[in-house]
C-alpha cells in the first residue's frame, strides 16, 4: 500500500530577483513498512523534498509544480489550516539535532504531551499515559518523563524525538539525518530502533542522509539526488550493485568500507553547480567522465531499466560503471 507518492515535484526558493531551483521534477513513492533512503551531497535538495512533504517550507519556498499524495490525500493544494491537520497525525519528522529540536526549559515529557493535547485533544492525564507508553516503545525509562532535555544523553534525546514523532500514530516518518550527530555505537542502536518500529507499526520511513553506508544497510529502496534532481531510483541492491547513473556509481565508490577488500576510492572532480543558474542539459555533465556533446544541450529523460529501477541519463545502461 502506497503511503507516500510524489509526482514531478518542483520546489523553488525566491531570493529577491533570483530563483533557486532547489528541487526539480522529483518522483518516487514509499509503501507501508518500507524505508526509502534519499541520499545526496549537501545542497542537493534532500531536505527541501522533506519540507515540501511536511508543508513546512520557509516563506520564500514555493512548490511550483507536481503533486504529493499522503495516505491517499493530495496535499500540495491544501491550505495551511488543512495542512495543520495532517502534520503529526499522518506524517511527522525526526530532525538531525535532537538537542535543538527540544525546548531546553521545558520537560521532555511535557513537550511530547503537548503534541497529544493539541492534535488529539487528549486531557493532560491521558496525554501523560500515552507519553509513558511511547517512552517504553522507544526504550526510555518511564522515570525520565519529568527530566529536562539537558539531562538526556545524545542517544536518549534522539529516542525522545522519535517518541514525539510517533505520538499521533503517523503513517509516514521522515528522518532527516537522524544519526549524523551520533557516535557509531549509538547510531547503530537508533537505526535498529527505527527498523524495529517500522516493522512493528508498518510505518513508511523516508530516511534522508548523506551517508550511503547508512542508506545501504537500512533502506529497501533508494533515491540518489544531484543538484535538485533525482538521478536514480530503485531497490537498494540494484542501485548499489548495478548503478545506472555515473553519479551514483562514483558516489558509492567514494565511500570507504571496513569490510571486504580494500579498493581504490573514487572521487568526483569539481563541485556541484549553483542552483540559481544550473547548467543546461544534464546537470552532472560538467563533472561526468562520460559526458558527450548531447549531455551539454539536452536534459535527459527519466527511463525505466528493470522493475522500478529508473535513471535520468542519456547513456544509462550503456556505460560500464562496474568496479
Amino acid at each position: 500500500m502506497k503511503v507516500l507518492e510524489i509526482e514531478n515535484l518542483s520546489t523553488h526558493y525566491l531570493l529577491g530577483k533570483e530563483t533557486v531551483y532547489a528541487v526539480d521534477d522529483v518522483s518516487f513513492c514509499i509503501n507501508a513498512g518500507e524505508t526509502f533512503g534519499l541520499a545526496g551531497e549537501s545542497g542537493c535538495g534532500k531536505t527541501t523534498v522533506a519540507k515540501s512533504i511536511m508543508r513546512i517550507l520557509p516563506d520564500n519556498g514555493l512548490i511550483v509544480g507536481g503533486k504529493i499524495w499522503l495516505d491517499g490525500q493530495e496535499i500540495v493544494g491544501l491550505s495551511e489550516n488543512e495542512a495543520k491537520k495532517f502534520r503529526w497525525r499522518k506524517a511527522s519528522m525526526v530532525f538531525q539535532y535532537a538537542m535543538s529540536a527540544f525546548n531546553p526549559v521545558l520537560r521532555v515529557g511535557d513537550q511530547i504531551a503537548e503534541v497529544l493535547q493539541q492534535k488529539e485533544g487528549c486531557t493532560k492525564d491521558e496525554a501523560y499515559e500515552r507519553v509513558k507508553k511511547l517512552f517504553e516503545v522507544v526504550g526510555l525509562e518511564q522515570s525520565r518523563i519529568r527530566d529536562y532535555p539537558h539531562e538526556f544523553s545524545g542517544g536518549m534525546q534522539q529516542r525522545a524525538i522519535i517518541a514525539q514523532a510517533l505520538a499521533c500514530n503517523p503513517k509516514l516518518i521522515i528522518a532527516d539525518e537522524p544519526v549524523t550527530a551520533l557516535d557509531v555505537v549509538i547510531q547503530g542502536k537508533i537505526l535498529d530502533l527505527l527498523k524495529e518500529l517500522k516493522q512493528k507499526l508498518s510505518l513508511a520511513v523516508l530516511l534522508i542522509t548523506h551517508d550511503l553506508s547508512v542508506i545501504a544497510e537500512e533502506s529497501d529502496h533508494v533515491g540518489i539526488m544531484y543538484a535538485g534532481s533525482l538521478v536514480e531510483v530503485g531497490d537498494v541492491i540494484s542501485v548499489f550493485k548495478e548503478p545506472l547513473h555515473p553519479y551514483t556509481a562514483k558516489l558509492i565508490g567514494a565511500f570507504p568500507s571496513v569490510a571486504g577488500e580494500k579498493v581504490k576510492l573514487e572521487f568526483i572532480p569539481g563541485t556541484p553547480p549553483d542552483l540559481i543558474s544550473p547548467p543546461k542539459g544534464c546537470k552532472f555533465h560538467e563533472r561526468c567522465p562520460f559526458a558527450k556533446p548531447i549531455c551539454k544541450v539536452e536534459s535527459p529523460k527519466r527511463e525505466e531499466f528493470g522493475k522500478g529501477h529508473l535513471a535520468v541519463c542519456h547513456f544509462a545502461g550503456e556505460l560500464d560503471l562496474h568496479r
Partner: protein
C-alpha cells in the same frame, strides 16, 4: 611500505586533566577537586614517514592528545619528545621555532581562515610571522609554489581570492598550503575531511598522501571514521575514555580487532554494500564522561566479558601479535 624505526615523536605517560569548576557548596565543604581526565596516561611513538591514525568516539581524548602534543594546551603530566628533544619544558621562543616543523590542519577551515585576508596573505602569513622571508618577491614566489602544490591552479588567480569565493574543498587546500609552506616534517590532521562531501573527500585524502610521499612527511591523523582510517593510515590507535585500548597495523586492527570495545565499535560501522550482512555488537549504556572513572579497566561496566580482575586493576597494553597491542586481560 618501508617504515623507518626512527621516531618523529615519542609520547610517554601523557596526561591532561581539566579541573571541574567547583560549586559554592563544594567550596565551603572543602570537597576534593574533581577533574575531567581527558587524556589519562597515553604512550605511543610516531615513526618517521608513517601515517598514524588516532580513532575513537567523541570525547575519548583524541583531539586533546593531538593538541597537547603540539603544546597548544599544556600537558598535566608526561613527556613528549620530538626527534628526541623534550618539548614539554621548552620556553616560548624555543617552542615557536620548533612549531614551524610541527603543523596542524583543523576540521573546519572556515573557523581557521580570516575572511578579511586574501589567499595570498593567508598562505604567506606563517612565513612572515616567523621571519622566514626577506623580501616581497620571495614571499610571493613561495606562496604561488605552495598553491600549485595543493593544486589550486592557476595559483595567481587563487592568490587574489578571498575565502568566500572558494568551495569547502578549496578552503581545506588553502589550509594545507598554509601549513606546508613552513616545510614541516610532522603534521597533525584533526578530522581534515569530515566537513566535506563524500565525493570530494578522496581528492583531499589523495592530495595529503601525495604530499606526504613528496616531502617525507609524517602524519598523526585524527578521525572518528574508522573506514577512512583504513584507507589512509599505516597504523591505528583506538582510544576509549582517555586511554589507548588497542593499537597496531591498520588492516590487523580492523579485520581482527582484539579488544571488546574495538570489536563492538567496528561491528557498528555501516558498510556501503547492501549485500553484506553484519551483526552489530550491542554495548550497554553510553560512554560516560571521564570525571568519575570506574576502577580497574575503564571499559568494564559495558563489557560482556568483564571478570573480577577487570574491576580491580587497570590492564596495561600488551603485544599480542607482532606490533598489535591490546589493553585487555581477556585477550
Amino acid at each position: 611500505m618501508f617504515l623507518s624505526e626512527e621516531k618523529v615523536l615519542r609520547v610517554q605517560g601523557l596526561k591532561k586533566w581539566f579541573p571541574v569548576r567547583k560549586g559554592f557548596l563544594a567550596l565551603i565543604l572543602g570537597k576534593e577537586q574533581e577533574y575531567v581526565k581527558a587524556v589519562d596516561g597515553v604512550d605511543f611513538d610516531v615513526n618517521v614517514g608513517e601515517i598514524l591514525c588516532l580513532v575513537g568516539e567523541s570525547g575519548c581524548g583524541k583531539t586533546t592528545t593531538a593538541r597537547t602534543i603540539l603544546r597548544l594546551i599544556e600537558p598535566t603530566e608526561g613527556s613528549i619528545q620530538y626527534h628526541e628533544k623534550e618539548i614539554t619544558t621548552l620556553d616560548k621562543e624555543e617552542l615557536r621555532k620548533i612549531r614551524t616543523k610541527m603543523q596542524i590542519i583543523y576540521q573546519n577551515p572556515f573557523e581557521v581562515l580570516d575572511p578579511r585576508l586574501s589567499v595570498k596573505s593567508l598562505v604567506g602569513e606563517p612565513l612572515e610571522v616567523n621571519n622566514l622571508t626577506s623580501n616581497e618577491r620571495e614571499l610571493e614566489e613561495r606562496v604561488l609554489e605552495a598553491l600549485k602544490e595543493v593544486r589550486l591552479t592557476p595559483p595567481e588567480d587563487f592568490a587574489r581570492r578571498f575565502i568566500h569565493e572558494l568551495s569547502g574543498g578549496q578552503l581545506q587546500r588553502v589550509a594545507i598550503a598554509r601549513s606546508l609552506i613552513l616545510r614541516p616534517d610532522f603534521m597533525v590532521a584533526d578530522e581534515p575531511v569530515s566537513m566535506l562531501d563524500a565525493s570530494i573527500r578522496t581528492e583531499i585524502i589523495n592530495l595529503m598522501t601525495e604530499l606526504q610521499r613528496l616531502h617525507g612527511l609524517t602524519y598523526l591523523y585524527i578521525t572518528h571514521d574508522i573506514a577512512q582510517a583504513r584507507y589512509i593510515g599505516n597504523r591505528i590507535i583506538v582510544m576509549y575514555l582517555g586511554k589507548i585500548v588497542e593499537q597496531g597495523p591498520v588492516e590487523d586492527v580492523i579485520q581482527e580487532p582484539l579488544h571488546p570495545y574495538t570489536k563492538a565499535l567496528i561491528s557498528n560501522i555501516p558498510v556501503p554494500d547492501p549485500t553484506t550482512k553484519r551483526k552489530r555488537i550491542l554495548l550497554s549504556g553510553e560512554t560516560p564522561t571521564p570525571v568519575d572513572l570506574p576502577k580497574g579497566c575503564r571499559f568494564h561496566p559495558r563489557c560482556t566479558e568483564a571478570s573480577e580482575e577487570c574491576k580491580s586493576k587497570e590492564p596495561e597494553l600488551q603485544e599480542i601479535k607482532k606490533n598489535h597491542w591490546v589493553a585487555c586481560y581477556k585477550v
